[in-house]
C-alpha cells in the first residue's frame, strides 16, 4: 500500500496574538505552502481543524474563508471539530483523503483564537473555560464542571492509587517549560523550578497554576501527498506509518477507572498495528499535556510505562530531552500553548522537525515518533506514528 507522506509543515508564533482566526489560519497555511514550494491551485483537499471559532469570535465557515484567502478555490474543504483533538482528527482526515486516493495533495491547517474573545464584563479565562466546558454533558455542565476540575479529580485519584508524590506532577511542568525555552514559537520560553510549581496558586486541588496550559492563540499546518510522489516535491519528508482514532464515554464519571484513558489505549493499539511497531520502538513522543497529569495517563495507556509508574519516569528524568524517551520536546501544550484546533497539528510539526533533524537545540535522535492528541477529557483521541521514509 502506498503510504501517506508529509512534505511540508509550519506553525505560527503561539501566544497572545492580535490576529483573529482567519488571519491565523492563513499565516500558517501560506507558510506551509511556501515551505513545500507548492502552489495553492494544486491542492485537492483543504481541511481546517478548529473547535470553536463560532463561540469565540462569531466566525463560522472558516474552511471556506481559508480556501478563498489562500487562493485554493476549487479544493474540497471541510472543518474538522473534535474539541481539543480537532488537530489530530484533522491529521486523520488528511491522511484518509490521501490514503483513499480521493486527494493527491491535501493541506491541513489547525488554529484557534482564544484570547480577547470574552464579551464585555466577562473575564477571558473564565469565558474560555466555559467555551471548552460546553463540550460536557448537561449532567456535568450544570454542576459547573470544567476540564481543569476533571484534571484535579483525576490527579487526586492517581496520587492516591499509585502512591505518587505531588512533586512528580511538578517535574512534568519543569521539564516541558525547559523544553519550551528552545522553541522560538512557544507561548512561554521561561524555565521554572520545582518549588515555583509546587507553591503556585491552587487551581483545582491538588493541581496548581503550573499544572495547566495557558490560553493561547496560534495556528499550524501540514501538507500531505502519497509517498510514491513525495520525492517529486522534496527530499525532506516523513511518512505516516500508523494512525488510529477512538472514542470514550461522553460522561467522564461513567468510566470504570478514572486513571485510565480507554480511547488513548484503543487509538494507540490501532496505530501500532498499522505501523507494525511496539511502544518500545518509539524514540520521541508529543503527548497532550493540557494538564500535567495527562502526560502520565497517556504515557501509561500508550504502553511506554506500566500503569501507575509514569510518575517514576518523570522523577528519574527518563522523559527529559536527554532521557531514554523524550516526551514533549516542543515544550508541550504546557509551555508551547494550546490553541485548541492547532495543538494536534503542532504536535506533528514538532515530530516532523525531529525526524528531519531540523529541531535545532531541541534535536533528539529519532527514527520513530508518536503524537497523541486528546479531546475533551480523553473523550476523543487520535494517535499518529511518524517515521523517516
Amino acid at each position: 500500500m502506498d503510504r501517506v507522506a508529509i512534505i511540508g509543515a509550519s506553525m505560527t508564533q503561539f501566544g497572545e496574538r492580535d490576529a483573529w482566526i482567519r488571519d491565523l489560519l492563513a499565516e500558517a497555511g501560506d507558510d506551509c505552502l511556501r515551505d513545500a514550494g507548492v502552489e495553492p491551485s494544486e491542492l485537492d483537499h483543504l481541511y481546517v481543524s478548529n473547535m470553536a471559532s463560532g463561540e469565540f469570535e462569531g466566525q463560522s465557515g472558516v474552511m471556506n474563508a481559508l480556501a478563498h484567502d489562500l487562493g485554493a478555490l476549487g479544493a474540497y474543504t471541510q472543518r474538522v471539530d473534535q474539541t481539543s483533538a480537532s488537530g489530530g482528527a484533522g491529521v486523520y482526515a488528511a491522511w484518509q483523503s490521501v490514503a483513499s486516493g480521493a486527494s493527491e495533495l491535501t493541506l491541513l491547517v489547525g488554529g484557534e483564537k482564544m484570547n480577547d474573545t470574552a464579551p464585555e464584563g466577562v473575564e477571558n479565562t473564565a469565558f474560555a473555560t466555559d467555551v471548552i466546558a460546553s463540550l460536557t454533558h448537561p449532567a456535568e455542565y450544570k454542576h459547573g464542571v470544567t476540564l481543569p476540575s476533571f484534571a484535579g479529580m483525576t490527579a487526586r485519584r492517581y496520587l492516591h492509587e499509585y502512591d505518587a508524590p505531588r512533586e512528580s506532577l511538578a517535574r512534568v511542568a519543569v521539564k516541558n517549560h525547559k523544553n519550551g525555552v528552545d522553541n522560538p514559537n512557544a507561548h512561554f520560553r521561561k524555565e521554572i523550578d520545582v518549588e515555583t510549581a509546587m507553591e503556585s496558586p491552587v487551581v483545582a486541588d491538588p493541581l496548581r497554576l503550573y499544572d495547566f496550559c495557558p490560553i493561547t492563540d496560534g495556528s499550524a499546518a501540514l501538507l500531505f501527498c502519497p509517498e510514491s510522489v513525495a520525492a517529486e516535491y522534496t527530499d525532506d519528508y516523513v511518512v505516516v506509518s500508523g494512525i488510529g482514532g477512538a472514542t470514550d464515554t461522553h460522561v467522564v464519571h461513567e468510566r470504570d477507572d478514572p486513571t485510565t484513558m480507554g480511547a488513548v489505549a484503543d487509538s494507540g493499539a490501532t496505530a501500532y498495528e498499522m505501523a507494525d511497531r511496539d511502544p518500545e520502538d518509539v524514540d520521541v513522543a508529543e503527548l497532550h499535556d493540557m494538564f500535567t497529569i495527562l502526560e502520565f495517563l497517556q504515557a501509561e495507556d500508550l504502553g511506554f510505562f506500566e500503569k501507575g509508574h509514569a510518575w517514576e519516569a518523570a522523577m528519574d528524568g527518563v522523559t527529559d530531552r536527554d532521557g531514554d524517551l523524550p516526551i514533549n520536546t516542543s515544550g508541550g501544550l504546557k509551555s508551547k500553548g494550546h490553541p485548541l484546533g492547532a495543538s494536534g497539528v503542532a504536535q506533528v510539526h514538532e515530530l516532523y522537525e525531529q525526524l528531519l533533524g531540523a529541531a535545532g537545540p531541541r534535536q533528539v535522535d529519532a527514527d520513530v515518533a508518536l503524537a497523541c492528541n486528546v479531546g475533551g477529557f480523553g473523550n476523543c483521541v487520535t494517535t499518529t506514528i511518524l517515521e523517516q521514509p
Binding site: P138, K142, R156, P201, A204
Partner: protein
C-alpha cells in the same frame, strides 16, 4: 424530585441516561431512585477558577452508589470541601446549581436543579 439511575434489561446502570445502554446496546427501561441512599467518594477537587454563573470556589466529587450487585457513579457539587476519598456522602437537593443565564449553554436546553453531596 429524584436522583435517577437508568437500567437496561441486562441490569446495567447509568446516570445520566442514554438512549441505548453503553455496555450492551439494549434500550434502558427502568429507573432507580438514588436520592435516599448514600454513596462513597471516588475522588474530588475544589476548583478555584470557575466559569460565569458558577459559585467560587466549586467543590465537586465523583461518587459511587451500590445498587444490589451493581454500582453506578454520579458527579456533583459538594456541600463543602471537607471530604476525603472513601468518605460516605448523601444527596441534598438544590433548585439551581449554577446561574442558567450566565454561561454559554442555552438556558432552556437543560435542567439546572440537582443534587449536591454532603458528608454523612
Amino acid at each position: 424530585m429524584s436522583l435517577d439511575a437508568h437500567r437496561c434489561p441486562n441490569g446495567h446502570l447509568t446516570s445520566p441516561p442514554h438512549t441505548r445502554c453503553p455496555t450492551c446496546g439494549e434500550a434502558q427501561t427502568e429507573t432507580v431512585d438514588l436520592a435516599d441512599r448514600t454513596a462513597e467518594v471516588v475522588t474530588w477537587t475544589e476548583s478555584q477558577a470557575t466559569p460565569p454563573g458558577v459559585r467560587q470556589p466549586n467543590a465537586i466529587a465523583i461518587v459511587e452508589f451500590a445498587v444490589g450487585d451493581e454500582t453506578v457513579r454520579q458527579i456533583g457539587q459538594l456541600v463543602d470541601a471537607d471530604v476525603e476519598i472513601g468518605d460516605r456522602v448523601r444527596p441534598v437537593h438544590v433548585d439551581e446549581l449554577r446561574d442558567p443565564d450566565a454561561g454559554i449553554r442555552h438556558p432552556d436546553s437543560q435542567a439546572w436543579d440537582g443534587y449536591r453531596f454532603e458528608r454523612v
